[in-house]
Structure formats: structure tokens, C-alpha cells
Amino acid sequence: MVRPALWLLFAGATLAAADERLDITGAVDARWVHSDSAPSFLDGGRGILRFDAGHDGLRLGRAFASLKYRLTDTVSLHAVADAYGDRQGNAVDFSEFWLDIKPFPTSALRWRARIGAFYLPVSFENRGPGWTSVYSVTPSALNTWIGDELRTVGAEVEARWLGASSGYAGDLSFVAAAYGWNDPAGAVLAFRGFALTDRPSTLRGGLGTPRVELYHEIDGRPGYYAGLGWRHGERLELRTLYYDNRADAAAEAGNHYAWLTRFVSAGARFEPSPHWTFIAQHLDGYTVVDDEDAASPFRMNFRTQFMLGSFERGRERFSLRYDRYRTHHLTGFYFGPPSNQDGHAWTLGWTHRFSDQWELAAEHIEGTSRFPPRASFGLQARQAESQSQLAVRYRFDASL
């Protein structure tokens, strides 16, 4: 019984190989971790790092496979499957799943549409396959949050003016999206504040302990974002985005609450030479959730910035980043001590590329933050936390 099935599978694979419709890129990241952090949010605490003092030693950073299946020349299906080995959600889950429609340009204006679930075009760090940061193991506090709670579950359209046709080595782009299932966005930020982890949420996995359920539609109102981008040669790229999930802050369904979240993000990447990269990003917004029993709705402002410098030469890359993050709890103090977070962090990273497949990445994070809700865990509001990681990564590429 098994043999005919294997033959069928083999025949299918050979047929597909004729025009290579499927591209798979993936990686397995195993790492040694040393941390003196307070219990992580992933483990029921309010620490800002992924691994805490109770999770030292050998860990699975992430195993993922990013699939791209070509339906036609200009339409492809993308999916990213992840495993973190940390018992949050399913053992394997999807973090992205979308249809990409990119017709050939017939004039200087190029259109592209994405339909499905995918990351917002905010991060300048997460350029690698599967939305990994290419500059350090852990992305900034800003982009950690983008990966934690936000995913476009809907449709996005991009119009890009291609300057090359007019002798300008750069592009101007406008992007807009309408989406649903982002109503809980803001909850993790209110409970935990900003954090620095390289564990973005999966679509059905939720985040933290107890688990915050993400990607639910609660009020039936779609949200939107719109952004502008400018690329000048290979040296400079600027992007800005306005996000509004248009949630009805008073809506709830079962145990799920809708959080009205709005923010502005702006960022720049400057590459003065092929060796140097500088990135700065800024994000500023607020989140509101209303409860009919409360005297006033919970409202919290948030703001974060980071600056990153990275030097690459041959097989080596060195990066240094400074993160600053703050949340300010204005009204509705019914969750306990105010969610006023004030912190900063330094991240130092080194990556050595042995080959196209093998890579070694080391990183050290030092962060200090004040967050009064830690009192509920018997901890001082102010905590200094650090985490060192040494990751061995194996990357694979296949086409079928």
C-alpha cells in the first residue's frame, strides 16, 4: 500500500520540478541562552525579554519554513509556518498566509496587491525570510510589538512610481489596506508594555501567559492603514504609515475586548556605503478600551524609537542598537497599578556567515525599565534585565 503512494508522490515531485512552481526557504535556529531577566511575559511575568532566568540553557530559537507557490507568472501564494518549541499555541502554526498579485508594469506606475494575513510594512529590520531581522537576533522594541500584535488580515494595495524609467534611481510608493481581525491589538502593550523578543505571534497561537488571544474580529468594523514611501537609489529609504484599527472600544465578544488602537510610524534606512547601514524608526500612538462598569475608559499613550548602526564586511556583521520606549496610562485605572512604562535597552550583535547554509549569531541585550504593574508579581517596578544568546542557524532552500 505504501509503495504506490510513494511512487505517486515521486511522480508528482518530478512533474512539478519541470517548471519549479514552489520555492521553500527555511531555517532552524538553536541557541544557548543566559538571562538574568525577571519572569518573561511569555511565562506569566512582566519581564521585557524573551528568555528569563528560569529559561537558561539550550533552546529552540525558531524553526520555520517560508513557502512561495507560483500560481501564474504574476500571482503567487505565500505561507510561513513556525515552530518555537515553547508550548505557546500549536506546535506548528502559520504566521503569514497571503496571495500576492503583482502584474508586470506597463508604465512607470506599478500596482501590487496582497490578500490574506501578513505583516504591516513598518519594519526596516525584518528583511530576512520569515520576517527575521537581518541585523540582530532580536528586533527593536518597536518591531517586536509590530510582530506581537499586528497583522494585516485583509487586503493591501500598493502603487509604486518606478523612477528608473525617467532616469531617477528611486521609487515613490503609496500603500493602503483594509483589514479585520485586529481588534485585540493594544492589549499586550497595555498588560506588558514594550518588550524585545524575536518571537512574533502566529495567527492562531495567541501570546503570553495567560494567553492573550489575538486576531479576532469583535465589532465588525474594518480597520485601515495608509502609508508613503520614498527610495532614493540604494542609499536611502524613508517610510511612514498611519494605522487605525477603528475598533469600537466598548465592544466585546465573550472574553474578547476590542481595543481602539491608532499610531503613526516613520522610519529611515541610510546606507552610505555597501558596508554601513543606519536605521532609525519612531512610533507614536494610543490605545483605548472601554468597560461599562468602569468610571472612565482605559486609555494609554505609547511611544518608542530606536537607532541602529550596522557594519558588514565579508562574512561578519556587527550591530549596535539603542531602544527607548514609554507608555503613559491616562485614564481607567481598573487593571491595577498604572501601565506607565519607561525604559531603554542596548543591543550588541555579531553574526558570522560560514556559508549560504550555516550561520552563527551572538547577541547581548541590556535593558532597564520601570513598570509599576510588576508590583502585582512582588517585584520592584524598576528592573535591570540582560540576556546573552549564541545561536547556530541552518538555512535551507529548495525549489520543486
Partner: protein
């Protein structure tokens, strides 16, 4: 000596006279700081009505893709040249042009596409990749009887040109000077060796560089 022998002698004399009449011309393109400018298309046409036999077209020219960049950045070909587009990267590319001189689209591919593309109209063809927006390449298609591309020393050489008036033009993807300002009319003496400098007055635009190890970025 028979009539046939005389004919051979005469034709030999004419050939020798032709060779003695021919001259070589070097064109050097320099930037504002007198540094050589490579990757500049230079064309030469007869300006005074004499006929310049066109160069024999290349059988096939190549525009490759390496580390998510078109190599060479600029390809200069005569009209009716076929160009192949081999992809040397691990990722697929999807090359297109919507330039007037040649509109085409290659389906998503790795390795070498099945057939080359024929460039049958004069003009500039700007190449793009539908997967990687930062990839830009140029194919300069010309009807001019003589053409070339400057090398690392900023130099193009044209050999065995008959004496006469020539019009010269230069175009480079990273040159900010207007093409009109780079036009020259040159007089070439018989048996001479002429060198003409084309000096730019405006700074060059920055040029992209291939980035090894970044093929899978922004995937």
C-alpha cells in the same frame, strides 16, 4: 603581365591606400575631477556624408543577473541584436521593460531563459525586475555604424576610420549632464591617431552595487 595581373596590382594599391587613409580614434570620458567614467555608451556617425560601413553585429549579447543586480549595468548593442538574460542567483527574477524601444516581459525564471530577446528598435531600454524593484539595468540600442562602451579607464577605441567629419555622442546611466551637452563634431585626419576627451561638468549619480548574501532579503 596580363590584364588579370594588373587588376590584382591595382586592387592591392587601392587596399594599401585605404589602409594608409585610415585612422584610429580614442574617446575618453572623464568626470569633474578628471577620473575616468566607465559604463558610458559612445556612438560615432559620419557627419559629412561619407559612408561608414556598419560594424558586424554581435551574434548574441548577454545581460546577466548576479546578486540581485544586472551585470553589466549597461549593455550597448547594435539594432537587431539578440540579448539573453541568464539568472545566476538562487532566487527567481522576472525581467521586464516598458520602454518605447522594446516592451517585453520574461516569465519568472532561474538559470537561462529558453530564448533570447531581439532588440530591433533604436533607443534606450530600461530593464526592471518585477520581484526586486531596486534592480535596474540599461540596454542602449543604436543604429550608429560605430559604437562602444567605456572601460575601467573611461576609454573607447574606434579603429580604421576613414578621414572625415564625425559626430560623437555619449550617454551613461550615472551621468547627470544632458546628452546634448556631450555631443561633439570631430575632424579626423588621415593616418592620424586622435584622442577626444569628453569631460562632465556635473557630479555622477550614485550607482548601485551588488550585495552578496542579500539575495533572500525583502523576500
Amino acid at each position: 603581365m596580363g590584364r588579370r595581373g594588373l587588376a590584382i596590382l591595382l586592387s592591392g594599391f587601392i587596399a594599401a591606400a585605404g589602409a594608409a587613409d585610415a585612422a584610429d580614434m580614442s574617446i575618453v570620458v572623464l568626470d569633474r575631477h578628471n577620473r575616468p567614467v566607465p559604463e558610458v555608451a559612445v556612438t560615432l556617425s559620419a557627419a559629412d556624408g561619407h559612408v561608414l560601413a556598419p560594424m558586424r553585429p554581435a551574434a548574441e549579447a548577454v545581460m546577466a543577473q548576479n546578486h540581485r543586480a544586472f551585470i553589466p549595468a549597461l549593455l550597448v548593442v547594435g539594432t537587431r541584436t539578440a540579448v539573453s538574460f541568464p539568472n545566476n542567483d538562487m532566487v527567481s527574477h522576472q525581467v521586464y521593460s516598458f520602454s518605447k524601444a522594446k516592451r517585453f516581459q520574461l516569465p519568472l525564471y532561474k538559470g537561462r531563459p529558453k530564448s533570447p530577446v531581439l532588440f530591433d528598435n533604436e533607443g534606450l531600454v530600461v530593464l526592471g525586475c518585477n520581484i526586486h524593484d531596486e534592480m535596474v539595468g540599461y540596454i542602449f540600442v543604436t543604429d550608429a555604424p560605430r559604437f562602444g562602451k567605456t572601460d575601467a579607464e573611461g576609454r573607447v577605441e574606434f579603429r580604421s576610420l576613414p578621414a572625415g567629419e564625425y559626430s560623437l555622442s555619449a550617454w551613461g546611466p550615472f551621468i547627470a549632464d544632458s546628452p546634448e551637452s556631450l555631443k561633439r563634431v570631430l575632424h579626423l585626419e588621415a593616418q592620424g591617431e586622435a584622442t577626444e576627451q569628453v569631460k562632465l561638468s556635473r557630479p555622477l549619480r550614485s550607482r548601485p552595487s551588488p550585495s552578496p548574501g542579500r539575495e533572500k532579503w525583502d523576500y
